[in-house]
Amino acid sequence: MDDKLLVRLYNVGLGDCIYLRVPDRGGAKHLLIDCGNKFGAEEHLRVALADLRTHLPEVPGDAGLRRLDLLVATHAHEDHVRGFNLGDFAGIRIEHLWMSTAMNPDHPQAEKAKALHAFALGTLERLQSSSRAGLAEWATAMLGLSKGEGLDALTVGLKPVRRLYVHAETPEDDLKLFDDPAIRLSVLAPMNDIDRFYLGRETALAFEGFQAMRDARLNEAAERGLAPQRDADPVPPNVSREDFDRLRRSLNDQALAFVFKEGELVNNTSVVLLLEWRGRRLLFTGDAEVKTAFQGSFQKDRGNGSWNVMWHRFKETSLSQPVDFLKVGHHGSHNATPWTGKASAGGAHPINEILDRLLPPQAAAEARAERYAVVSTERSGYPTIPDPSLMMELGSRVSNGREYEEPAGVHSVPARRPQPPRTDLETIEGHRVPWIDVELAEKAAGGIP
């Protein structure tokens, strides 16, 4: 078995925690991509980390210490980094720690992104006291996510032998991990210039304009002795409190738009990894998003989706061939796989070209080429996580599709429609499995279908 590559997708609730055992010339290398969850219990993460430990080799001469060759933190969201805070890494020596370049506190090309992040946190803190139905709870949940609990451990607590903030332009030599030169782990995203590629000049200007506008108006109001309205303040005399409260709830809070934009931006700073191993190609996508409205193209100086940038840069090289394995991005959300059911003038939407290249549509199930996808997910109230249409589309393109009896609901995938294996639905004798494994054997040269 040790000659097979193992991908183990831990069931951590809504989050990612992915272990890879990669056979190499001098013995297997052990990798962990992300360790976090949202809404889920710490216990899920602890189970995953306990299992991980059993796979890791002991460090010679240091009884009890285990070796992890590479730890990757794709991006700074709680559902990807929370587990780093648990202290369970204490007995593990981390040889390499790769973090997204956006997580570098001194990164000069993410200044505007950082300002947006600070603003988002401030807004969410303010909204925690909102009277708008459900908003305070939502803001609290989002605040936990955006603060990225676990980041402290990554930047301070963990003591890797080598720490590297990676991006698509990181020199190949810096990413060398394997003894066998034919095994390559490449970083396809993010680009180093976060502000330019993912925030975009348009959004940056809009954000600056919004802040300036708000500050100016608040200052102008303060000069006239006016302060922001509080819930307990009297309402205008020409309307009832009920009508005024309903009105306030309905007004668009532009600050919220920037909170959403910031969440999107952080996803787009995800480290995307392509592992090429003995004829196999495996793609790990973090939560990299796609901008469908850009019609599959990259747009200079605008807030691109990570997929738009990757396709622009790698479509003739790293992304020119199908993959054998896809870690479905962003827990199966509609916004992180380059596919849409939306039609476009003249036929299929151009964004679909990307998925068609990576996971080409397949014929009947029995004649399918060997291709795998898995989804780490959980239904937690987000309508498109996972997206039923996407699950069905992916299910039709892979050879490891599964049919589940998903509880009925508006987001459910109908029974007898294959989907990629999902951590939230895979069970043994009625119990959720603690992980999903995919094993890949070496492929003969020229065997890429």
Binding site: H77, F244, L247, N252
Partner: protein
């Protein structure tokens, strides 16, 4: 009024006590406009009467003093019977002090008694500008030359809130659920642009509110055409309200004569917004050649609305030109002037474009329904058609593709059908007394009106119009009855994605128009049941829903209101008794990514 008249009016007003004013208020509807101005029944307000960017063309048309209906309970805000201005900013949380109504001075002022001006008291100026523009729209629609009846709102209540500085955003909304017009500001922080100062934007949004009042079911999303019709009425309102202004028409005459086909100044909607947000001369223009086939390709509400706005603008131009035709000039002792032609066209458009709204079906309106309504309304109100307007209208609609452009008149889609003879006679005076009385009239004739016998329909509106034609002659009495029922439609199939298994409604119903002698003059219906039309409508509804699901334009309303999503969805689904009701979001513009929304990212 000339200045001396205005001065005289002010003198008369000063002599009136409030008791006099209240007494005169009760008789005001019998008096003409000039008299009402002189006796304190009209409130003067200085506002923008044309979109600022267009008005600034040569500084001739900008702010102007207009007068609005005085009411005994006019109050701070401004607040009157139908509107309440609430100047709350959702981004800063600041509530601005309201404009103060000083009855003695007969003017809106700031609280300390200062005069309101845009330069010195900008917040209160914006409040008054937005209120006065919206009130002008309402008065325009209620005028006998247009609908000739009080206009209800489409929500539970009678007072529409206007939020003139709702926050920082390139948009404006009519939001039925919060009973509000939300007008945002945008642009350079040093020099913000205010939607509330844009005549066209305020008029457009108020137009949505008016249409929602008279046809509330049009907000239920059942085809792109229904949403496009809403946008059309918004744009048409802005254009006609500006065209009604004497100074705007004088400017047009000076600049274009009767060649309004060149007058992008008039046909353009929301110039300031278009220029600063979308980098084009106008947000939309009625000077366009968009055909029905073009619109069917796009299936977008804003784009599709241009079929009708373009058509009605062509008709307006045609009416003005025809007024000066040699044949008509020969009929006159003294030749008409271009100014007279424009005045005529402005007056005639009320009957041509707005009175037909009463002839629309109560649900699921299509662009062709409006074309029928326009033509039938002309047949009823101007049976002789001495000026050949019906041919003009038919040609324009043909050209826009609402019927085949090569149609030779046989089986022409644009020929409105004659109403049926109802087998059971009811006296309309009796039937117009209550909705239940009207129900009996319809129920007794339900076979003829294609209402399935098992369907329990409801009379959703009943009104009696008192309308004038463009020559201020009284039109025959008109009683309109609208009835509606719902049929369940199951969403079966994977094309409905997450909505599979849900149930939606097919809205069915009709509109009956009677004259004062109980003659049925018009009937239009949206059938249901097992009729061929009903089956076809059901299929069409399912196709439409599958499309908006595939385009991700459908969102559960609670997902936007609870904070998990923000922004106004393109189509919001609400559950009522377990059935999904789909509501169109009314935005000023859809933007480059129309239909997309902000979604949670984590």
């Amino acid at each position: 009024m000339a200045e001396s008249d205005a001065q005289k009016g002010a003198e008369v007003r000063r002599e009136l006590t409030q008791a006099h004013r209240k007494s005169l208020y009760q008789a005001a509807r019998f008096l003409n406009l000039d008299t009402r101005c002189r006796i304190g029944q009209r409130v003067p307000c200085e506002i923008y009467v044309q979109d600022r960017e267009e008005g600034a063309v040569d500084k001739k048309i900008g702010k102007q003093v207009v007068d609005l209906r005085w009411e005994p309970l006019l109050a701070d805000g401004p607040t009157n019977a139908r509107f309440a201005v609430v100047d709350y900013d959702g981004d800063t949380g600041i509530l601005q002090p309201p404009a103060h109504w000083n009855e003695e001075a007969f003017a809106f002022q700031v609280a300390d008694g200062r005069e309101i001006t845009e330069e010195t008291t900008p917040h209160q100026f914006r409040q008054v500008n937005a209120w006065a523009t919206a009130q002008r729209v309402l008065e325009y629609y209620e005028d006998p030359r247009q609908l000739g009846r009080p206009i209800p709102w489409g929500f539970e209540g009678n007072r529409l809130m206007i939020v003139p500085q709702a926050g920082f955003q390139n948009n404006a909304y009519y939001d039925r659920n919060s009973k509000s017009l939300q007008l945002y500001y945008f642009g350079d922080p040093e020099k913000p642009r205010y939607a509330c100062l844009s005549h066209d934007i305020v008029a457009h949004e108020t137009g949505h509110a008016v249409l929602d009042g008279i046809r509330p079911y049009f907000l239920e999303n059942c085809s792109w055409e229904t949403a496009a019709f809403h946008e059309f009425v918004g744009d048409l309102t802005a254009i006609l309200l500006a065209f009604r202004n004497n100074d705007v028409r004088s400017y047009l005459e000076e600049k274009f004569g009767t060649h309004l086909e060149l007058a992008d100044f008039l046909a353009g909607v929301a110039g300031e917004f278009g220029k600063y947000v979308e980098n084009r001369k106008f947000l939309r223009s009625a000077l366009n050649s968009v055909s029905f086939a073009d619109a069917q390709q796009e299936r977008s509400a804003h784009f599709g609305s241009q079929v009708l706005s373009g058509a009605m603008f062509e008709i307006l131009v045609g009416v003005a030109c025809q007024y000066l035709s040699p044949e008509r000039q020969a009929e006159r002792k003294k030749p008409a002037t271009p100014a007279g032609a424009l005045w005529w066209a402005a007056n005639r458009m009320g009957g041509l474009a707005l009175q037909p709204l009463d002839l629309l079906p109560p649900v699921d309106v299509r662009l062709l329904d409006y074309a029928w309504a326009v033509l039938r309304n002309e047949e009823i109100n101007d049976p002789e058609d001495r000026h050949g307007y019906r041919n003009l209208i038919r040609e324009v609609f043909h050209k826009r593709g609402l019927c085949s452009p090569t149609c030779d008149g046989k089986n022409c889609l644009l020929s409105p059908a004659e109403p049926p003879r109802l087998p059971i006679f009811h006296d309309i005076t009796e039937a117009a007394r209550s909705r239940t009385a009207a129900y009996h009239l319809i129920h007794d004739n339900r076979d003829k009106l294609q209402i399935p016998k098992e369907r329990d329909f409801v009379v959703v509106d009943l009104y009696d119009c008192d309308q004038l034609n463009s020559a201020s002659e009284r039109l025959p009495r008109r009683v309109v009855i609208e009835y509606v029922w719902r049929e369940d439609v199951k969403l079966d199939g994977e094309q409905f994605g997450r909505w599979q298994g849900e149930t939606v409604n097919l809205l069915c119903g009709g509109t009956l128009v009677f004259d004062g002698r109980s003659n049925l003059r018009w009937w239009t219906a949206k059938p249901g049941g097992d009729s061929p039309e009903g089956k076809a409508r059901r299929v069409e509804l399912l196709e439409h829903l599958a499309r908006i699901v595939a385009e991700r334009r459908l969102t559960l309303a609670e997902e936007t209101e609870g904070g998990a999503l923000a922004g106004q969805p393109a189509v919001a689904a609400r559950r009522v008794d377990g059935i999904l009701r789909l509501e169109t979001g009314l935005h000023l513009c859809g933007g480059a990514e129309e239909g997309e929304q902000w979604t949670t990212s984590f």
